[in-house]
């Protein structure tokens, strides 16, 4: 039922975006903010709770080595700039026990939501045409998508972008 609501909201967001057409201007991120997924404890977490923050949504999996390799940098960035309004959220295309084990091992300090293999379809709907991982979507404080990336984010490139986004109100 929750998933159906997400679907409807995402659809509404999608139509709104479509009407804006394809421009290089920031895109509407309401389909991202409309997602509701369970965390490792089974609690439903709506992404809308982080509206107003600089939000980095990262699709990943424990079976994806390049995904795991970039996560320590995300943890460091979350520690450094969390108080300034930066929020990372991981969406795992994976099983909950594997996610929990890995999250404990690397001391993950941001939410790991569980998407299962269905999250791949979800990421496709958000622009991940190749359905590969890692796939990351960055929203500014106004909820606009300012960056999408298939493949790892370069730390310097990410830091520069986040600094810029955190500096603007």
């Amino acid at each position: 039922m929750a998933a159906a609501a997400v679907g409807a909201a995402a659809l509404a967001g999608g139509i709104a975006l479509y009407q804006h057409g394809e421009t290089s201007a920031p895109r509407d991120g309401s389909a991202v903010l409309a997602l509701v997924l369970p965390d490792v404890d089974g609690r439903q977490q709506p992404l809308s709770q982080w509206r107003g923050k600089v939000l980095v949504v990262n699709f990943w999996a424990t079976w994806c080595a390049p995904c795991r390799e970039e996560m320590p940098h995300f943890i460091a960035a979350q520690t450094k700039d969390g108080a300034k309004g930066l929020q990372f959220v991981g969406i795992a295309v994976d099983q909950v026990d594997k996610v929990r084990e890995f999250a404990d091992e690397i001391r993950l300090n941001y939410p790991a939501l569980i998407g299962g293999l269905g999250a791949i379809e979800l990421s496709k709907a958000l622009g991940n045409d190749l359905a590969a991982l890692p796939f990351t979507i960055i929203l500014d404080r106004s909820g606009s998508v300012v960056h999408t990336q298939l493949g790892p984010l370069k730390p310097a490139q990410l830091d520069a972008l986040l600094d810029r986004l955190l500096a603007s109100p």
Partner: protein, 164 residues
């Protein structure tokens, strides 16, 4: 149920939304192959009780040995010996083995097949460019001749999936 809801979301949203976002993907994306092209699955009949499965892995891509599985219908595949791969150290999983280039696997069948035999492979691999693909099921159908003593031709898996 959840899977289905996701599929519905994907179907609707991709039409209106996915393509617009995808247009803004950075440079890495266009060089990457979809998984069924990066990992091409084919198979042939060696004899009515033995199938040879084959993966052709594109340059710059690799498959995980322990994520490679084969099944067949209506005749079952017996246990298989996967060839040794190249060892690769993984910080989370320890030493793992990978395949590059062409890899062939003999699939002994529980009993001789005749007529149509559906062979399914599930594989999972990555690109050196720094992305991984989710487990990818592929399927093909072989025609097993009644008295086939000669190896048959390779049959390729047809592209599969909702959007390609």
């Amino acid at each position: 149920m959840i899977e289905r809801a996701f599929a519905t979301l994907a179907t609707f949203a991709a039409l209106a939304f996915g393509t617009a976002i995808a247009a803004g993907l950075p440079g890495l994306a266009p060089k990457l192959l979809p998984p069924e092209q990066a990992f091409r699955f084919s198979a042939r009949v060696l004899d009515p009780a033995t199938i040879e499965a084959r993966f052709d892995v594109a340059d710059g891509y690799y498959l995980y040995r322990d994520k490679l599985h084969f099944t067949a219908q209506p005749v079952r595949v017996l246990s298989i010996d996967l060839p040794r791969g190249q060892r690769k150290h993984d910080e989370f999983f320890g030493d793992v083995e990978t395949y590059r280039g062409a890899v062939t696997v003999r699939l002994p069948l529980a009993s001789p097949a005749s007529g149509k035999l559906v062979v399914r492979a599930e594989s999972q691999g990555c690109a050196d460019a720094g992305v991984c693909y989710p487990p990818n099921p592929q399927e093909l159908t072989l025609a097993v001749p009644a008295n086939g003593a000669q190896p048959g031709p390779f049959v390729e898996a047809a592209p599969k999936g909702l959007f390609r």
